[in-house]
Symmetry: C2
């Protein structure tokens, strides 16, 4: 069986019904999203000028709407099951400069101006745990 090289676009077998939470997101964008079974897309957050990848969080349709219309990065907390505005309690605001959707609609790339640390541990980026790559292939 050939191994596919790219995600297949179109209908997703696990695509759930539209999320139960009400959303004001532009229907043209709603139609392009391909969500996890719990109705979310991955939001990759990077510092707009350096390009550093800071964190990944999750957005439902309404969180994406709020991010696009308030200029403040807003996510859906999978554990607390509520919206959170980055920086609201920590002061580590994320001012949104641009948002891009990927080709198959399951992720957005959010370019921000990050105040202070992106990570709740106090580190600048959440990706500070290196995993061992033991089968490196040199290109």
């Amino acid at each position: 069986m050939p191994v596919p090289d790219a995600p297949v676009t179109g209908a997703h077998p696990d695509q759930p019904a539209p999320p139960e939470r009400p959303s004001r997101l532009d229907p043209a964008i709603v139609a392009r999203l391909r969500r996890t079974p719990d109705g979310l897309v991955a939001a990759v957050v990077r510092q707009h000028d350096s390009g550093e990848v800071l964190m990944v969080a999750w957005m439902d349709d309404e969180a994406l709407h709020r991010t696009l219309t308030t200029g403040r990065a807003t996510y859906w907390s999978r554990s607390r099951r509520e919206y959170w505005v980055k920086g609201a309690t920590s002061g580590h605001h994320q001012y949104v400069r641009s948002v891009a959707l990927d080709c198959d609609g399951d992720a957005v790339l959010v370019s921000v101006d990050q105040v202070g640390a992106a990570c709740h541990t106090g580190q600048r980026t959440c990706f500070f745990t290196e995993l061992p790559v033991i089968g490196e292939v040199i290109s």
Copy 2:
């Protein structure tokens, strides 16, 4: 109600049972992952030297194991429900230089040397669709 500023670590209310697909992933890493309801973590892929964010794909435990031990980026296709090795059919290989896990275990950052286009559309990056940010806040 206070708005949380960061994902909560620890037990995830939606955390599923370990994935049904067999995996050889190091149990120490298995224990750190927090997966979507369908057993996946988000894999953010960037070009190792320029830092450009190329794509987001999905990994189950075994896909992460294969990525770490073969040096070739390997994903789980949500639509086809099978593993795919990037470049196997297109020649657009991803040679893995490093992999980092994020603080709450739901995403990995994969730094690669990307041959050719990362996107199946032929574009270098999958994030070529800009969404309108109409509420920009200047920091």
